[in-house]
Amino acid sequence: MEENHVGITVEVNGRAHRSTVEPRTLLVDYLRDDLGLTGTHIGCDTGQCGACTVIVDGQSVKSCMVLAVQADGAHVRTVEGLAQDGRYHAVQQGFWEKHGLQCGFCTPGFMMQTVQILEDNSDPSDEEIRDALEGNLCRCTGYQNIVEAVKAAGATIRSGAETMVVGTGVGA
C-alpha cells in the first residue's frame, strides 16, 4: 500500500468492498471512480446541489461532503441499490409516473433524499416535502412534478402495493 493511502471496507448496496484510497478522496469519487457506480452525480463543489446524495448508515448525506475514509465500516445505499428483486423502489416508480425528472442528472440525489423523507414520514405535506428537499437543486422541473412524485411514492409505500417490474415498458 502506498504511504499516503488508507485501507477501508465499505458495504455498498449490500456488497462489501475492500479498497485503498487517498485520505482526500471524497466518498462520491470513491463510489463513481473506484467502484464504477456512476449513478451518483456531482453537480457542484460547495455542497449545495445534492446531486451526490446517498444514504450512509440510514442517513441521507451529500457524498461530496464526506471523505471515503469516513465511510470505513459503514453501510451505503446508492441509486443502483434501490430496485430490489427485479422491482422498482416505490420512489423510482413515483418519479417515473409523475414525470419527476427531465434530464435526470439531479434525480438519483433527489430519489435518495426522498427515500429518507418517506422513511421518516410516508405521508408528508407539500410544504414538508419542499422543505425537506431544500438541499437538492433541480434546474429542469421547477420542482412541481418532483413533489407529485414524492407523494405518489408515499402513497405506494403506505398501500404496500407491489411496484412495477424493472424492464416494464411505458404501456403504450
Binding site: 469519487d29 456512476t38 449545495q48 414525470h99 433541480c138 434546474r139 403504450a172
Partner: protein, 789 residues
Amino acid sequence: MAVASPTRAFGASIRRREDPRLITGRGKFTDDIHLANAATAMFVRSPHGHARIVSIDTSAAAAHPGVLGVYTYQDVKGFISGMPCAWPTTNTGDTLKLATYPPLADGKVRFFGEAVALVVAVDPNTAADAVDLVQVEYDPLPAVVNNEAAVAPGAPLIHDSAPGNQAFRWSLVGGDTNGALAHADVRISQTLVNQRLIATPLETRCAVADYNPASGEVTVWVTSQNPHIHRLLIALSTGIPEHKIRVIAGDVGGGFGAKLPYYAGEALCIFASKELGVPVRWSESRSENYVATAHGRDHIQHIEVGATKEGKITALKVTAYASLGAYPSTVAPGVPTWLFGCIIQGPYDIPNNEVHVIGVYTNTTPTDAYRGAGRPEATYILERVIDLVAAKVGRDPVDVRRLNFVKKDQFPFKVANGTLTYDSGDYELALDQALHTVDYTHLRAWQEEQRAAGKLVGIGFSSYVEVCGLGPSSAANAMGFAGGLYDSATIRVHPTGKVTVFTGVHSHGQGHETSFAQIVARDLGVKVDDVDVIHGDTDKVQHGMGTYGSRSAPVGGGALRLAGMKIRAKAQKIAAHLLEVAEEDIEWVDDAFRVKGSPDKSKTIPDCAFAAYMAGNLPAGVTPILEEQHWYDPENFVYPFGTHICVVEVDRETGETHIKRYVAVDDCGEIINPMLRDGQVHGGIAQGIAQALWEEAVYDENGQLLSGSLMDYAIPKASVMPHLELGHTVTPSPHNPLGVKGIGEAGTIASTPAVVNAVMDALSPLGIHHIDMPLRPAKVWAAIDAASH
C-alpha cells in the same frame, strides 16, 4: 397511462421511455465515460478580469510526477488558433468586429476565469496539484464590466481590433417612429436592465477525446446540444477531416442554451489526446462552469414609447447595449440582434417601431444563448411598457393589452419591421382564459380589501408571443447564421416491425425518446414501446442541427412526420399488392391499411416491413426494406403565445416577495404529450421567476465574478418555488406538419415580466413605478423606505 391503440398515443400523457435508465443510475453522462489509460485535463485560469500576461512558468508543473503535459497558447495554436463564431450577424453595415477568441490566453487575459494553460495528468488529483504549480505573472489592467461604460470614451480597450469596445451596431426599423413619437399624446422614457444570468444546468460541461493516430479518427464525447454542429466546427477549426470525427452527446444533464456553443476546453481535449496518444477527459467543477460556460442576457435598454390617451401604443423605440462578454461565443452575435429585434413588437400591433442594438465587449465571461435567447429581453420591454402606459393613462393593464393586441382576424400578421409573419394566434383567447382562471374581478376586489388592510399585494400580467422553431434556412442564412436550420429524421422499420428513429435534434431533458415515439406510433400504427429514438451520435445519425430555440417538436418532429408519410406511401403500395387490390381501394384506418368496405382485410406496417425484407413479392418499382429519410426546411418560424398572471404580496418589513398565485395559459398548437409539455413550462417558469426575483451574475469593478458559486448565485430551491397552475389553448400552426409550435422557452419568456409587473403593482400605492431586476428584498425594501420619506 395506457393508451387504447397506437393511433391514440399522440396527445397522451405517457410516461417516458428514457426514464428507466435514468432512475436506475444507468444514464451515460459524459463524466461517466471511462476509457482505459485516460488522462485528466485541467485548466489554469485567470484570477484577473483584465491583465497582461508577463510570463508563464510551466516547468515545475511539467516536472511533477504523473504530469503528461503542460501547454500554453504557443503550444496549441498550430492545432487551433481561435474559437469560431458561427453567427457573424448581418445588418451591421461594416461595424461588425469579431475579435479573435484564442483557446488559451494569448498575451492577455480578458475575463476572470479565462483559461491560460492546460495541464494533463494521469488522474484528477495529480492534475489539480499540477495546476497549482503553474506560475503565471500578471500585470493587471483596469477592467470594465458595465455595457455603457465599456463604449464610453476613456474605457479600457479590451481588443485592439474593436475600437471603443464596440462589437457591432445593428438596427431594424418599421414605420416612422420619430414622427409617431412627436405626435403622441403620451410619451414615456424608461431605462431597463435585463441582468446577466448563469445557466446552471445541474451537469457541468465535460468532454472526453480519444484520438487514434493510426486512423486519424477522433471520438469526442461532449455535453453538446447539437453534436453535428460540434463536429463541423471541430473540423473547421482544427483541420481534422469532418468524416473522421465522431461526436457523441449521450445523456446530457440540461443545456438551456449553454451547451450549444463549441468551447475551447472541448477542443483542447482533442489537442491533448492527439499530442499524447491517450484519451483525455475533462469535467468542469461548478465554480469553473460559472466562469467558463457562456452566460446569458445582459442588456441595458433605453425605451421611448408614444401612445394615445387611451393607451394605444403608436411608437416604440429601443436602444439596447448588449454584452458579448470578453469574446464572441459561437452564436452570440445573433442573440441580442435577430432573436431580439425581429419580435420587438411582440403580440401588439405597433405600426412604428425601431430597435437599435450596440454590441459591446466587456471584461466578463462570454455570453451566448440562454433559454429564450433574445425573446425574454424583448418581452420584458413590452410587458413593462404596457404597464407603464396603463399607469400613465389611468387604465387597467388588461384593457391596454387588449387594445394593443394583434386581433385574431389579422393573421398571418407581418410585423412592422418586415422580418416576421406570425402564422396564427388568438391572443385574447389566452388572456380571457387566464382572467377566468383567476376570477379577475374578484381578484381586484380582494386586492382592494388587502390594500385597505395595509398589505402590499399586486397582480401582474405578461402577454407574449415568441418566435421559435428555428427555422427557415433562407432566413437563417440572411441573418448571417453559418448554417441552415432544417432538421432530419430517418425511420428504420426492421423486418420484425420494430422501429428505430434517428433524429437530428437532441434531448437533454425534453423527452424526445418518448414524444417522437408518440409521433411514429400515431403515423405508423406501432406501439410506443416498439419505437427506439436515437440521437446524439454523429456516426449513427444523419446530419441535424440539434436542439435550441424550441425547434425540436416543430422542426425535428416535422421531419419525423414527413419521413413517416414517406414510409406510409411506400408501405401502402406494398399493402395494396399483398391484399391484391388497387391502392385507391385501401385506406389507413385504426393502425393498418384496410380494404375499403372490408376492414378485416388489412395489412399493418410490420406486415409490410417483413414483405419489404423478403423482397421477392414486391410491386413493380418498389425497392426492398422499409426505411425512409427526410430533411425538413420549415417555411416559417412558429409563434407560441399566451398570458401569465402572477399574484404577489410584498412584505413591507423585509422587502421579500411571496408569490401567492401563478397562472399560465400557453398556446403551443397541437400537444404531443401534455405531461411533458407541462414539465417544460414548469421548468421554464422557474427560470423566469428566478430572473425576476433572485438570480444575477455580479461582477465587481475589477471584473471579479462575485457570484461565483451556488453559495452566491441563487437558483431556486423547492422551498421557494410556488405551485404553478397551467392551462392552454390550441391554435395550430398552419404551416407545420404536426401543427405544433415549440414550448421549451415560452415559460421563461412569459414569466419574468409577470412577476415584475406584480411587484410593481403591489408597490404602486407608494408611488414606486420601476425597480430593476432581480427584485431582491434589500432592493425592494430600500425603494419602500425611500418612498416613505
